[in-house]
Symmetry: C2
Subunit: 357 residues, 2 copies
């Protein structure tokens, strides 16, 4: 007889494409600015970076949405740019402008100097946060660790800050492919080491956010993003600490490349809302679980509309194993937390007719 | 024997999926800030709006790229927001912030008051510009007229300005679908009248820019965008002035919906660079011509790389009739005009081995 599914394990069971009592749900940026308790802790921390770098505070905000909502997974509160910061690029945040690096890398010479940071050295604050959160969760729900993708980190490392289109980064990739490949390789090795260390510290699932992969034409996506996502998967499989920990890959907007993303060997793919889950599932088959994909803007609508749109996403996926409900992008600061309760209840109620899958 | 194809007609022949001597090419925003002569005329006009609203100046900048480059079509210099401006919303531009409306529409009552503006009334300056450009072109290349899509205009009309995600507009569509459909219907009728009048004034092809359709989930795209693109196509077919004028529809990012876009009955679909043209062609068949789809960032790379990436796009489409080369989005202000010469020459040289198609 199958193990019983409940809040403590339905997320991991869904990632393994096993039957679950109801579809699990968590929300990208669930520990975030839409929550008044988050804003209070953030104010106490003094800065975003202090919040992310103080394990006790990072733990506190990680747990806030778990206490308030019937979410089925926790995700570590951190930032994708911790890794390049540990490589020496000097991360800082300018209020209202987002992240910036003091020392962006824009030449083959600067790239050649980069190394893989020790996860228990300059990144120890992240591992300490993972250990603390895992302890404080006490088995209620699984903990997700995460990192940015090699391409997405490279975008910020070269540009030095955010950009609407990262056009200069794409031009660098086209004009100096050898230097770009060197950068992506060191990023992939650094990210794999970082994720394996998070698994060793207690993360029960891992996720890679390829936030800017979808800006690349398909041939360049294969060359500059997917290839290094596959390298990370291979490195994690070869690492005894991470081998059994499921990996979720989310390349937002890279919908033309779903098949080769499934080929990376990850356990699950994140899907944004511009593709239906039945179409995504038709294309990748049952090789991977799927995570997504409600438009975050839906949470600005009425409870009645939220319930209808949640049902639409669930029905798009259908009564198969291997669905983790999520938004197709992070929750936005202007959402009323009460609407997230409506969403979570709708997911659980709509799929609670016996074991799903 | 087939009519001979040359600069004056290869664009229109490709839209009809007829054979051409070389693949035609034009560039979205070819009359734009990357050109020093454009910046000079723009400075003389005093403001963007004065430039767009003075037929002699709009004509001057429309012709500038035709004089400088071997482009195969001219596109009227104008703005998609001329139509809501003529509806009384009060368009103005704030330097560095983009377009704004003095009187956005945010209620069913405000929407109910909107009517279809007379294209030869408050929009006569656009028709005068079309007539002047057509005369000044003297048959060298065909002239494209254009408009924004019903959904894209609705985004600006409700939000009152640009937005990263138009989340409030999507919430309005979800919460008040009847009011949104009323708005989209009046927009579709206004746009069809505007495009038909441009055809009557001399435009030889028409294009609808659905810049924000791709932000909608597929079911909502069908309901709030594609349906009204089909309404425009039907209205133009029923209008003797526009019936024979090919219509290009470009819903940037709506790549999950290419099939239903082809079903609108348009002559051609614009395609952004995140989908290969062979994949797009496989999905829509030979029902429509395709226009695209080089990543605009490629123009920041070296001439050698530009030539290689142009060849990749041409080879993706293959030796079929019905390809108009373009970028997958507008050319950016930081491009060196010399690189556009490289692109245009590469398109013509790569496809000049006899009649293509």
């Amino acid at each position: 007889m199958a193990e019983t599914s409940n809040r403590s394990n339905r997320f991991l069971r869904a990632l393994r494409r096993e039957s679950v009592d109801t579809t699990p749900v968590w929300i990208m940026r669930q520990a975030g600015r839409y929550l008044p308790e988050y804003r209070a802790t953030r104010a106490r921390a003094g800065s975003f970076l202090a919040l992310a770098q103080t394990p006790e505070l990072a733990c506190e905000v990680t747990l806030q949405p778990i206490e308030r909502f019937e979410l089925d997974a926790a995700i570590l509160f951190s930032d994708i740019l911790t890794v390049p910061h540990a490589m020496g690029l000097g991360l800082h945040f300018v209020e209202g402008e987002g992240p910036k690096f003091a020392a962006p890398v824009r030449s083959a010479a600067a790239i050649a100097k980069l190394g893989v940071p020790d996860p228990e050295g300059p990144l120890r604050y992240v591992m300490d946060a993972v250990r603390l959160v895992r302890h404080e969760l006490g088995g209620r729900v699984p903990l997700i660790g995460f990192a940015g993708s090699p391409w997405t980190l490279a975008c910020y490392m070269i540009e030095g800050e955010g950009s609407r289109d990262f056009a200069r980064v794409k031009a660098f990739a086209l004009n100096e492919p050898a230097a770009m490949h060197t950068l992506l390789d060191v990023n992939a090795r650094a990210i794999a080491a970082y994720l394996a260390a998070q698994a060793a510290a207690g993360a029960q699932a891992l996720m890679v956010f390829d936030s800017w992969g979808g800006m690349l034409a398909p041939a360049l996506f294969a060359e500059f993003s997917q290839r290094y996502l596959a390298q990370i998967t291979a490195l994690l499989r070869a690492d005894a600490r991470a081998r059994a920990v499921p990996l979720i890959v989310f390349s937002k907007g890279a919908n033309a490349s779903l098949e080769i993303l499934a080929d990376t060997g990850c356990a699950a793919l994140g899907v944004d809302w511009t593709l239906t889950l039945d179409e995504a599932r038709r294309r990748v088959g049952a090789r991977v679980a799927l995570q997504g994909n409600l438009d975050p803007a839906t949470l600005l609508a009425s409870p009645e509309v939220i319930r209808r749109e949640v049902a639409r996403v669930l029905d798009d996926f259908g009564a198969h194993p291997g669905h983790v409900f999520n938004l197709g992008h992070g929750i936005t600061p202007d959402v009323d937390p009460a609407n997230l309760t409506v969403l979570i209840d709708a997911v659980h109620a709509h799929t609670a007719h016996g074991e799903r899958g």
